[in-house]
């Protein structure tokens, strides 16, 4: 069953400030849904390259609602303001994560004060500045982190994911 209620809830949680336009941009992406089965003979999941936003759309510590690798997989795009290991962009400070808690799939909320992602269901917490490391919680993995590429026009693309996203047997369904 598809759970649009939860997807909508996730959108609401992250649609804050002036980032509505960016969410629209992500929703306009075309997903190669049929490629997953065609690529079945390959050893790796074949990820789509989706444009998430442009550098100009990001403000420091303002979370942007994204969806990757498809519309049912909500995420967050963050410009942290300081370079972090694994950070993308000219300042090495841009990261993106799934916001489905890898414990039971609840939507994480972003706390800008200590830059953590928090689960209202069972109180797990993840560090946006430490590669999504679980600070404390019940998940048996750290937060799936999306692999980012920034092109020379400043467009930010997601092109992979570090861990399995909650609720799927394959990151690309």
């Amino acid at each position: 069953m598809k759970c649009n209620r939860l997807v909508d809830a996730g959108r609401r949680q992250f649609l804050r400030g002036g980032i509505v336009g960016a969410a629209g941009a992500a929703a306009a992406t075309v997903f190669p849904a049929q490629q997953a089965s065609a690529a079945g003979a390959l050893a790796q999941v074949d990820y789509p390259s989706n444009r998430l936003a442009n550098l100009a759309d990001l403000a420091i510590n303002e979370p942007m609602d994204i969806e990757y690798p498809d519309a049912d997989s909500p995420g967050v795009l963050l410009k942290l303001g300081e370079a972090v290991e694994g950070g993308a962009g000219p300042d090495g400070d841009i990261v993106a994560y799934s916001v489905l808690c890898p414990h039971k799939g609840w939507y994480l909320t972003y706390n800008g004060e200590d830059r953590s992602l928090n689960c209202p269901g069972h109180f797990s917490r993840f560090d946006a500045e430490a590669g999504g490391q679980q600070i404390w919680g019940h998940a048996t993995q750290n937060l799936p982190q999306f692999t980012l590429r920034v092109d020379d026009k400043g467009d930010i693309f997601a092109e992979g994911c570090s861990d399995l996203i909650f609720g799927r047997p394959s990151n690309v369904l």
């Binding site: 999941v45 997989s73 430490a130 048996t140 399995l164």
Partner: protein
């Protein structure tokens, strides 16, 4: 940088996968899981799979999901098969929730395909030529039996020392406690023995039992319908995770208030505030070790305000003053409530002074627990306690004070009530009588340190990581064991007979011959001479009961690793060899004592032990009861189902003390400050209180987690939570390696700045392989040799700057922030 699994796709369990009932073998809660196994060359599809779900669609929150940690490839009947172990939505214990421990059961299985848990022991090992050499069971058991038989036959059974687990889950359970118990309490009468987590062979909750109250008397559902939850010296969100999430949280959502008694603010307090609202949570952050005073004051409030349950007390408790006098092995008197009050009476003002909390908060807590509602009905209260007082100051009287309050307010034996320990492992104890051990039982660690014993059998215990006074224990045991290793090395070219003679000479000179049964190489096992490989739950069938006495059969779904065996069958093998060797020695009468171990399987051991006392209970019937099992005691078998007991003492007859009158006793819990030797002086001489705490991420002493990359990435060293001002004053930064020292020894860990840590108080995680907190715990115990691990003081200094591993981890607050 956080550990990345780099897994983005998993095999799908097919619709025809084999399904096995699994009870999580880690903590006492015993969550239900389903294990799916299927052949290597098969798989399900998104349309057709074992879950019966359309996996082409995103699953909703709380839905079924196979996380990478829940998958592995293991041996089953000699073949490599896929394994998926996922939480069971139909189990009433956890309703589909997994903890960070149970959710990793699959990946913590040994697999030669995926490379997990390659630390597991596969073959018997014997110390030969300066190393451990793999050998056959026959060879290893022959050496064990020849040395052990010679010692017990010639020098007496008191020369055999035994450390043995008494728990369920893991590699414990009714099968394995029976196998070891029959060997050491029936075939032999071993007196010099101890349990895995305490330096003597005795109960952790003597006073509750002496009062007539079994320490596991409720049903978890009682939390859901109570008015007030009281937690004392426990941290259930971390250590009984799904008891908190699946039973206490619904209780709070139904309106229950939450009282926490703990010097430290834990994530449990934080989560309770999120669920119930701060106005319905009361954290009594008492001075360390003063729990008894607080509960005496709460009892006094209830008595003086007429909030006790007079009918319950009159009908169910002893009325004649003193019933049991204080004496040797009896740390306080027991009797009627009036009798106990002569020792317990404490005003709120006195308690506020001693406990360091506001008098108004003590009054408020008493009201939340005992003051009848406006309509005159009684409030219902569930009380849960654990190591904070079990391993705390004056164990007997403190637990007595807690149980006193529950008894006086009618809060045991009724729906929505209970007074229980929260527990560590599951339970699974079925052994012959231990009466010969005596009360108080021998202080085992001191006996070994003083040179007692010649042969030492260690069953799944790693005291080097977990005992008190560990530094001295390790030094002495290593010295004694090395004497035997040297003798064995010198006799390497001789016959078996010459080898045995060399070992016996060495132990007669003060050495110790050590046989270690475990699933991995342990720290204490480093000083063993024979190591015998055991297997765990699900590599064998295993029965245990959880913290509400829920008995389940956790089914075997894979083969034991290599040539490892269930502990009960290792014990049987020892018995067979003891019988043979004693007969060869010409002692037929002694040899005959080792008959009765004709067990081919763990089920045979179960039928020989537990089933003899509980004839209704068989594997077949338990299998049919599935992951919801049956709550002990089992009273019958009707309509194809075992009939259990959801709650003890519903008839008001208290039986745990064995008194014929069935009346509960109150404990004369008179306060006497620091009870254990040396505590007051240690506190006076050192700067920091070294609290000994647990974390949800580690199971016990990390025996499997030490080989789990996800876990070790988070905490590469044992964390020591510390106040930021204390750190700044001592020049310590986040992640720096620090050393704790006192007269008992030294240990080390990683500083974790914690804004809720009080100045002068640090909290170090227990039992770490990279820093044993037990090194700095003094040998002080109570009259029954219960250790006080929780009260240790030391000084702290910086050892080193944060290593690259430590620098990479998060040091943010563990508390949920919306």
């Amino acid at each position: 940088m956080a550990y990345k699994r780099q897994i983005d796709r998993l095999p799908i369990p097919p619709a025809n996968a084999k399904v096995h009932n699994v009870t999580c073998h880690y903590c006492i809660v015993g969550c239900g899981y389903k294990a799916y196994t299927w052949p290597r060359n098969q798989q399900g599809t998104t349309e057709s799979n074992a879950f019966g779900l359309d996996l082409a669609e995103q699953q909703p929150a709380d839905g079924t999901w196979l996380a990478p940690s829940m998958y592995n490839m293991v041996k089953q009947d000699g073949k490599d098969v896929h394994l998926a172990v996922v939480p069971d939505h139909d189990c009433v214990v956890n309703s589909g929730l997994a903890s960070i421990r149970g959710g990793r059961m699959a990946e913590n299985r040994p697999s030669k395909v995926t490379g997990t848990q390659q630390q597991r022991l596969s073959d018997p090992l014997v110390w030969r030529n300066g190393v451990w050499q793999p050998t056959s069971w026959d060879d290893a058991l022959d050496l064990v039996a020849r040395v052990t038989a010679k010692i017990v036959d010639e020098y007496g059974e008191d020369e055999l020392l035994v450390s043995m687990f008494d728990h369920g889950g893991s590699a414990g359970g009714y099968e394995n406690t029976w196998g070891t118990g029959k060997l050491y309490f029936d075939s032999i009468k071993v007196k010099n023995c101890r349990i895995h987590n305490r330096p003597s062979y005795m109960s952790e909750v003597h006073s509750s039992r002496d009062m007539g109250v079994d320490e596991l008397n409720y049903s978890y559902s009682d939390y859901e319908v109570t008015d007030t939850i009281v937690i004392v010296g426990a941290n259930p969100l971390e250590t009984q995770t799904n008891l908190f999430l699946n039973h206490m949280v619904p209780g709070m959502r139904n309106g229950a208030r939450f009282i926490m008694v703990d010097p430290r603010r834990s994530v449990t307090v934080n989560a309770a505030e999120e669920v119930a609202g701060k106005e319905n949570v009361l954290h009594l952050a008492i001075n360390p070790g003063t729990d008894m005073v607080l509960f005496n004051a709460l009892l006094t409030q209830a008595v003086d305000n007429g909030w006790t349950d007079a009918d319950y007390i009159a009908g169910n408790s002893f009325q004649g003053g003193e019933a049991v006098a204080m004496g040797t092995g009896q740390p306080s008197g027991l009797g009627s409530l009036d009798y106990a009050m002569q020792s317990c009476r404490t005003s709120a003002a006195e308690a506020a002074e001693i406990c360091g909390v506001a008098e108004a908060d003590i009054v408020k807590a008493a009201e939340w627990i005992a003051k009848p509602k406006d309509d005159g009905t009684r409030r219902k209260c569930v009380t849960g306690y654990e190591k904070g007082i079990i391993w705390g100051n004056d164990n007997y009287r403190t637990i007595g004070a807690v149980v006193n309050l529950s008894l006086a307010t009618g809060n045991i034996g009724r729906e929505g009530t209970g007074c229980c320990r929260l527990g560590g492992h599951q339970e699974g104890y079925y052994r012959p009588s231990d009466a010969h051990v005596g009360r108080p039982a021998v202080y085992f660690d001191q006996h070994l340190i003083k040179g007692g014993g010649k042969v030492y059998h260690v069953w799944a215990c790693d005291h080097y990581k977990t005992t008190l006074n560990a530094a001295q224990f390790k030094r002495v045991m290593k010295r004694r064991a090395d004497m035997v290793k040297d003798a064995m090395d010198a006799a390497a070219t001789g016959t078996r007979e010459e080898m045995v003679d060399a070992i016996v000479s060495a132990v007669n000179a003060g050495g110790l011959f050590v046989v270690d049964m475990d699933i991995i190489h342990t720290q204490i096992g480093a000083n063993a001479h024979v190591i015998l490989p055991a297997c765990e739950s699900n590599e064998m069938n295993l029965t245990s009961m959880n913290g509400e006495r829920r008995l389940r059969l956790s089914e075997r779904y894979m083969d034991p690793f290599g040539n490892s065996k269930p502990d009960c069958l290792i014990a049987a093998g020892m018995a067979h060899n003891m019988e043979r060797v004693l007969r060869e020695m010409g002692n037929d009468a002694y040899a005959d004592q080792f008959k009765g171990y004709d067990w081919e399987t763990e089920e045979d051991a179960f039928m020989d032990g537990y089933n003899q006392g509980n004839p209704e209970v068989t594997y077949e019937r338990l299998r049919a009861m599935g992951n919801n099992g049956v709550q002990e005691p089992v009273t019958g078998y009707e309509d194809g189902k075992l009939v259990g007991t959801p709650r003890l003492y519903t008839d008001g007859v208290f039986t745990r003390h064995g008194r014929e009158d069935g009346k509960a006793l109150f404990c004369a819990a008179g306060w006497r400050g620091w009870q254990a030797a040396g505590k007051a002086q240690e506190e006076a001489n050192h700067e920091f209180w070294i609290n000994n705490v647990r974390a949800n991420i580690f199971w016990q002493n990390q025996f499997l987690d030490q080989d789990n990359d996800f876990i070790q990435d988070r905490f590469p060293y044992p964390f020591i939570e510390m106040n930021a001002d204390d750190m700044a004053r001592l020049g310590i930064g986040a992640g720096d390696l620090i050393e704790i020292t006192n007269n008992n020894g030294a240990t080390q860990g990683m500083a974790y700045p914690t804004d809720t840590a009080k100045p002068g108080q640090v909290a170090m995680v227990f039992g770490s392989p990279a820093g044993s907190q037990g090194n700095v715990v003094n040998p002080g115990v109570n009259e029954l040799n219960l250790p006080d691990y929780k009260h240790t003081w030391g000084n702290i200094r910086k050892l080193a700057n944060a290593t690259p591993q430590a620098k990479a981890v998060s040091f943010k607050s563990k508390e949920y922030k919306a």
